[in-house]
Amino acid sequence: MLSETVLALSNWQMTLTSLLHYVFTPLTLGLSLLLVVLEIRLILKQDASLKPTIQFWARVFAIQFVLAMSTRLLVVIQYGVSTSFFARFIGDNFALPIAIESISSFFLISALFGPFWFGWNQLSDKQHALVTGLISLCLHISALWLISAYAWLDNPSAVSFNPLSLRIETEDSWQLLNPPELGQHSLHAIGLAYAIAAGFILSICAWFKLAQPGHPISQHSQSVAAIFGIVSVLALSVHGQTEALSLSQRIQQNTLRGVDNQSLLPEIQQHIRTGLDAYRALKTWREDEKNAPLAASFNQQKADVGYAMLLKRWLSKIETASDTHIRLAAESILPSHPLALFWGHKSLMPMGVISLVIFALALLPTAKFNGVLLSALPINALMVAIDLMIQHCLHQAWLVDGVLPRFIAYSSLSTSEQVLAGGFYSLALLTTMSLSVFFTLHIIRSQQICGAPS
């Protein structure tokens, strides 16, 4: 069993990588859309004053793009470095949409970035707008593939445990790529992405406007950001929780509604006991593979083997689990700090309203609210951060819902190895994030609005 220190460090490493990736990828989504709108406007209106604004946002986009790509590799590597058991046990099912995305839309984005960034002089306005549009389209397709992969973790379908390979294997690949509630997950994730991107753009516009009223960057970009923001916040508020189906979804719903989950403990314990029976049947069957009744018994109950694995936190031989161990295991999957999660969830609504008001104020042709508009980024960033933390805490127990407890998924590293790895990745991520902030502020402060490229 891994020490608590290794578990905590592994958790920290995964969380940091994912958090940074989820922050900068949304910015690339939103900024790419903004660039598409501005470049189309340039073509339709033939307004040369738009070009410096477009090139300014292109530089900001390039920084976020660089960081998103950097953290992307770290995310893909982390699953092998930090959670090698997960990668071996079930990871290929999760990786299937990621692999398809990497060899298709991600590659196209990478190929198109060269013409986008270096082709200002050589490509015509229409050609460059086409390249930007394709990048934006591919970014969104990539996002949908990734959302599909993460949505599957919350509701693993179309897979079952194979006792011969001791892995979870796919039964239906097409269903795997189209998990239940993919639409909900997509709407929520894209809505969050646009909200933070719109807040980011609006804050920068407000900063320029405060420095110089009528600044061209604000003039051309503010209304676009405001409309994005309004649409995204409305999408987030319209999207609601569907009828909870699985046990985990009911636990999450209860927590967010402030309902005590203690009433679900007997059901959870029953799942653990069923899983234990399946585990015992599996162990016996591996010694006597011709025993058909044992195989049948295992197949009937194997869906709950993941619940039995919860006992590994206290026992290496889980067959000897007592009622106390089963009770402890059942309690371990309930979210810790339910009050914080409840109030955090409650706070999202007023923050959404404030965000909506800020975006609406941005549409008004008055300079009175410039100071308020500056808060668009902090408010939306806070809203997104709280939402991400809530989701993370609700899924704290399981890496794959009902199948693989998080603590089992981690690699068998020593404390020193985990400290070294965690230290390197933390330093790398924080350094790249600092560089990103540095370059973004450098561009904004220098206000290097380029003239027509030569």
Binding site: V76, G80, A87, I100, W120, T170, A428, C450
Partner: protein, 378 residues
């Protein structure tokens, strides 16, 4: 796709080799060119020209690495899990190079000369370390990694970083360094007008010779090195479970495939021919032919390694039976049925698009000095 499990595994292995070749050629260009930045460029103008040569296709080259890793994760999850869990210390330099490259090549132009120069040095050294890391990884894959899979298939790494660094792996790292520096130096000369062409030519000659000599030494060593052989019945249609076989280790077993299939000797021969032609054409200043020669050397080096190891993917030198082969480390048949045709087409398209992209530097950027008040977004 209604192919049996055995055929799907073979096809997936073929796609893996193809992806490795694409990665080696593409990432080899990035690594080699960036490592040479401080060696061949004598002033900021030359530096800008080198950056203009490499930067437009930077992300495309790097995307081969990501595509390869994602494909291995989806198609060979045990290989992915064991490889990253056990070799992470050697992978760190590659990760560092990946992180630094875009900042240095794409964004650092916005900074003053002093900061740019600092970024350039960091870029150069980190890419050299990454090349060494790649070589050490390859050397360990051939020699065997000290790992074990227990009854419940938890991966246990039985060594440490020092167990991964030994004379054989260091020789492979040297060979890798020679090859990638050779490859990068030849790529940089494709536009013969670049002012650092002479420096690149001289470096390419030295690196090419070092590569050929070290390749010959590795081949001789490999003929004596302990190899691995599956001693039990090979279950090509069975679910993936490495614990169901017996593996033996013995001298000269890596030469088994060459003894059974004589035509395989063509591959190391082509490595030497490709490398030799690359050096010769480099001296004759026929840059395109020289670069093609190095591509042949790179591709055949990958094929040589892959076919020498076949059917193994990651042998274990401590727990022989848990060595991973193509028959017991793959994903499920259902996943392969979907992934193989998609990946087959996609990697081919990637290769074609990559080929087109290498025309980009000449078409997109003018090789001229960077002015202090840039009229370009960067």
């Amino acid at each position: 796709m209604n192919l049996d499990y055995e055929s799907l595994r073979i096809l997936a292995w073929g796609i893996l080799l193809f992806a490795l070749i694409g990665f080696a050629i593409s990432e080899g260009i990035s690594l080699g060119s960036c490592a040479l930045l401080t060696l061949v460029c004598r002033n900021p103008n030359e530096r800008n020209i080198l950056v203009a040569t490499v930067a437009p296709s930077l992300y495309l080259q790097q995307s081969w690495m990501l595509a390869l890793i994602a494909f291995i994760f989806a198609a060979w999850p045990l290989v992915y899990a064991v490889g990253f869990a056990c070799l992470q210390a050697l992978i760190l330099p590659l990760v560092a190079a990946w992180l630094i490259r875009p900042f240095s090549l794409v964004l650092a132009n916005a900074l003053n000369e002093k900061w740019r120069s600092t970024f350039d040095k960091i870029l150069s050294y980190s890419n050299f370390l990454a090349i060494l890391g790649l070589g050490l990884i390859l050397g360990n894959v051939i020699k065997g990694i000290p790992f074990h899979l227990d009854d419940e298939m938890h991966i246990v790494f039985l060594g440490d970083i020092w167990a991964l660094i030994n004379p054989f792996t260091l020789l492979v790292a040297l060979c890798c360094t020679g090859l990638i520096v050779f490859h990068g130096a030849l790529y940089l000369q494709l536009d013969h007008r670049v002012p650092f062409a002479d420096s690149c030519r001289s470096l390419a000659l030295k690196a090419g010779i070092a590569f050929l000599i070290s390749f010959i030494l590795i081949s001789l060593w490999l003929s004596r090195l302990e190899g691995y052989h599956i001693n039990s019945e090979i279950l090509t249609q069975a679910p993936s479970n490495p614990l169901l076989k017996f593996v033996k280790r013995g001298d000269e077993l890596w030469m088994d495939n060459y003894q059974h299939q004589f035509t395989l000797w063509l591959l190391p021969t082509l490595v030497l021919i490709g490398g030799g032609l690359g050096i010769w054409f480099n001296q004759k200043q026929n840059h395109y032919a020289a670069f093609l020669g190095s591509c042949v050397a790179v591709a055949c080096s990958v094929l040589t390694a892959g076919l020498t190891l076949f059917p193994f993917l990651l042998p274990s030198n401590r727990s022989l039976n848990t060595s991973l082969s193509i028959w017991d480390a793959s994903t499920s048949q259902a996943n392969l049925s979907l992934l193989v045709p998609i990946a087959g087409i996609a990697f081919l398209m990637m290769a074609l698009i990559s080929r087109w992209s290498y025309r980009m530097p000449n078409q997109l950027t003018a090789a001229k000095p960077q002015s202090s008040c840039s009229q370009h977004p960067h």
